[in-house]
Each structure stands twice: as C-alpha cells, then as structure tokens.
C-alpha cells in the first residue's frame, strides 16, 4: 500500500520544478534577440503601430511586473494568445488539440518498447551467453545507436515504399473525417464505432510508434537483462531453488518484481526522451503534434506558444516521474522511508 504522505510530498515537489522551468523559459525568451511586438505587427508596420502593440501586450511594463504577471498566468494555465502560428487563438486551446497527438505516439511507442523490451531482456538473462542472448544484445546495441532521423526514413523506405504495408505519413487516411473527442485518434475512432477509421489510424501510427519503440525497447531490454542477472545470483533465489521450486517460478515469482525496480526508473526517464524524440519523429512522419508546433513557434518567435509548450512538456515529464516514484514505492515499500 502506498502512503498518502509519500504521494503528497512528491506532488509538492512538483511546484519548485515547474516554477524553475517557468522562470528558466521566461529568462531565455527575454534574453533571445527579437521584439515580439514587431513579430505581431509585421516587418512593414509603422513604429507607431508597433508601440501600440507593445502597450497592448504589456511589454512596456517593467520586467519584474512582466515576470510576476507571467507566473500568475502560468499558474492558471493561461499562456496568452498565439502571436503567429494561429494568430489570436489561446495557447491553451492550441495545446489541447496538439498534445494528444504527441502523447498518443509516445505512449504507443513506449508500450511497444515495454512489450518487447522486458521479455527480450528476461530471455537474455535466463539464457545468458546463448545465441539468443548475443542476438538480442546486438539488436539492443543497434537500437540504441541508430538515431530516429535515420531509422525513420529507413522504415518508411522498407515498409511504405518497398513492401507497401504501412502508410508513410499522416495520422489517418483522407477519406475519414473524424470529429475529435479527446484528440487521441485511435480512441476517438473506437468510441465512434468506426472500425475502418480505427484500422487506418492504427496503420498510420504503427511506423512512428515503432521508431520510438525501437529505441525504448533497446534500453529497456538492456536494463532488464543486467538487472535480472544480478537478481538471479542473489542468495534468496538460490534458496528458493534449493527448496525445490522450479526455476521458471523462482524467476517470475521472486526475481521479476525485484529486477523490475531499475527498469521502472529507465521507463520513466525514457518517457522524457520520447517526448523530445517526438519532435524528430513528427517531422519525419509529417505528423502535426506538439513537437513540430514547438519548432515552428521558435522559428517565427511565437513566445506564448513556446512558453506554453515547454511548460507542458515539463509538467508531463514531472508527472510521469511522480508515477515512476509511486510504482517504485509499490515494488519496494522501503523506498517510502
């Protein structure tokens, strides 16, 4: 049982993290060259109009007033309106539609990574130094070493161009017009009972999720293997076997849960990398998620969108780590102490 005190303590720790990220983003954007008022008004706008825009945005206020206002609005999840990308649209609304796109891809990728990474790592540990162990280790090494911008086009070339099994880009075939409920397209199509659309969305999602999943799987399987190898050599495992328990039961019942602790940590940290990797994956597969939004916002100097996106990333990452901590304390209750 996980204690409430532990969870509350961890939740409270999120406050300084998000405060730190908010301050960091505010500082970076104010140190970066460029005038947001000029960006909004356009390059050919008169000085008078630019001054007007500046007053409207509150950019004429002292910097500490701007900082205080930014923090106050960030607490209310109000990041203002977009300057450029979707002029006048609240950033909160833009993120509401873009975030599920990236989350869906990252979660499916992570799911694939866990689904294959844990059994492969287990197999490697149980059959140490066998052919299968060598093969999976080489595979894992390749998975970690190959960057997304290389594995992505390679998969597109093989599965979309040569074999024609999966589509190369987009989220769903153009003939389907799905009104978003949550923004998670596979979920939305299922809820609406449109199975043909669901199949199309799943086919479109497979390659990007696989690209993300390969990297994740490689890391998880490596961690699982080394962690399991260490657990197998523990005295309590030897005792269990000496008492006549079968080796499969010993491994699954006693070893697996203990070996899972470092793997859970890697999965948590990995999630942040997946969100970062989403920028590249979305670019390669032409998916309009939060990653491409961030890159576009930086390129055109849309500061509210940059601030909102970065804070959202940070919030997500810290929440996932909170989840990892809670799982951690479930697997090993001593950690709560």
């Amino acid at each position: 049982m996980i204690s409430k005190r532990f969870v509350i303590k961890r939740l409270l720790l999120l406050v300084p993290v998000l405060f730190g990220v908010a301050t960091f983003v505010f500082a970076i954007l104010h140190l970066a060259p460029g005038d947001p008022a000029r960006v909004i008004a356009g390059q050919r706008a008169s000085e008078e109009f630019v001054r007007q825009v500046r007053t409207q945005l509150g950019l004429n206020d002292p910097i500490w007033v701007q900082y205080g206002r930014f923090l106050l609005e960030a607490v209310q999840l109000d990041f203002g309106d977009s300057y450029q990308i979707q002029k006048g649209t609240p950033v909160k609304q833009i993120l509401r539609f873009k975030l599920p796109v990236t989350l869906e891809m990252a979660l499916y990728g992570q799911f694939l990574g866990i689904l294959f990474g844990i059994p492969v790592g287990l197999l490697g540990a149980i059959k140490q130094d066998a052919f299968s162990d060598h093969a999976t280790r080489i595979g894992a090494l390749a998975g970690i070493s190959v960057p997304i911008y290389w594995s992505g086009p390679l998969l597109i070339l093989l599965f979309a161009q040569v074999l024609n099994w999966f589509p190369a880009s987009g989220r769903i075939a153009s003939q389907f017009d799905i009104n978003p409920i949550t923004g998670v397209i596979t979920f939305d199509t299922l809820v609406r009972g449109n199975f043909a659309a669901f199949q199309s969305a799943a086919m479109h999602l497979f390659l990007p999720a696989a690209v993300i999943g390969i990297y994740s799987m490689a890391l998880i399987s490596r961690m699982m293997r080394s962690s399991m190898l260490e657990v197998i050599r523990q005295d309590y495992m030897r005792t269990a076997r000496a008492k006549g328990q079968g080796s499969k039961i010993t491994i699954l019942k006693h070893g697996f849960r203990n070996a899972l602790i470092p793997v859970v940590t890697v999965i948590g940290i990995q999630f942040g990398t997946l969100l970062g990797g989403a920028v590249l994956t979305e670019t390669v597969f032409g998916i309009a998620g939060i990653g491409t939004l961030l890159v576009d916002a930086i390129q055109v100097g849309d500061y509210p969108v940059v601030q909102g996106t970065v804070l959202m990333f940070a919030g997500l990452f810290t929440l996932v780590n909170l989840l990892v901590d809670v799982t951690y304390s479930y697997l090993d209750p001593r950690i709560e102490q």
Binding site: G20, T23, F24, F26, A27, H30
Partner: protein
C-alpha cells in the same frame, strides 16, 4: 575529535551535530547558512547593480539593460531551482548509484541542495539588484 576543539576555521565543534554512527556532521549551522545566503544575495545584487549602468553606458537603453540583466538573474535562479528540485528528487538515488558502482566521488544530495540554494540566492539578488539599479539609473538618465 573532542568537543570544543578548533576546526580549520577556528570555530569550536561543540555546536555541530554528531551522526548516529559517531561520524561528525559537517553541515553548517542555521546561522552560518543564513549568513551564506545573505552574502550570495548581496553578491547577486551588487553584480546586477554594476551590470545595469555598464550596459547603459555602452549605448543601450535603460529598458534593454534592465531586461537583459534581470533575465540573466532569472536564468540563474531558474537553473538553481531546477538543480535543487533535481537534487531532492533524485539525489538519494544518485548517492546509492555511486555507492553501487563503487565511485569515490564526494557528491552528496545535501551538498548539492545547499549549493543550489546559494546559487539561487545569487540569482534572486541579481533580479532584485537589476530592479533597483533600473530605478536608480532611470531616475538619473
């Protein structure tokens, strides 16, 4: 070491806690900590107080100088906040990991937290100093 014996800094050890395993706790006393933070705050304020007029003298506007110097202070403050939170979140894990891999580093969660607090004070001092210097320079220029 006996109680009352001098340390390198000349202070007696009698006001320091002793760990349960008999080892001496090197953490500074609350008064020392406050003094350290005050010094860091002052350092940040002085640095920012110098930076604002220097930037103005180099030909930039007071607004520009104020924004940039304040932002640098905020950057330091934000970085230290993240460092502090990171130490609290993962510090114990890092310590255990070091022990696990047999590393001989002196890094510890408590030291890291303390260092980040000092750095954060420099940042806050910088932000305050920039605000104050802007007010002073603005009324002169």
């Amino acid at each position: 070491m006996h109680s009352g014996e001098s340390t390198d800094s000349g202070r007696p050890h009698s006001d320091r806690a002793t760990g349960g395993d008999g080892t001496r706790d090197d953490s500074p006393t609350p008064r020392e900590r406050v003094r350290q933070l005050g010094r860091a705050l002052l350092l940040g304020a002085v640095l920012a107080g110098i930076a604002v007029p220097v930037v103005v003298l180099s030909g930039e506007t007071v607004r520009f100088a104020s924004e940039k110097v304040f932002a640098v202070g905020a950057l330091v403050f934000g970085f230290s906040l993240l460092g502090w939170s990171g130490s609290v979140f993962a510090g114990r894990g890092m310590e255990n990991f070091q022990r696990y891999i047999g590393g001989r580093s002196d890094w510890s969660e408590a030291d890291s937290r303390r260092a980040m607090t000092v750095l954060g004070s420099v940042g806050v001092g910088g932000m305050m100093g920039a605000s104050l210097a802007t007010w002073v320079v603005g009324s002169v220029v």
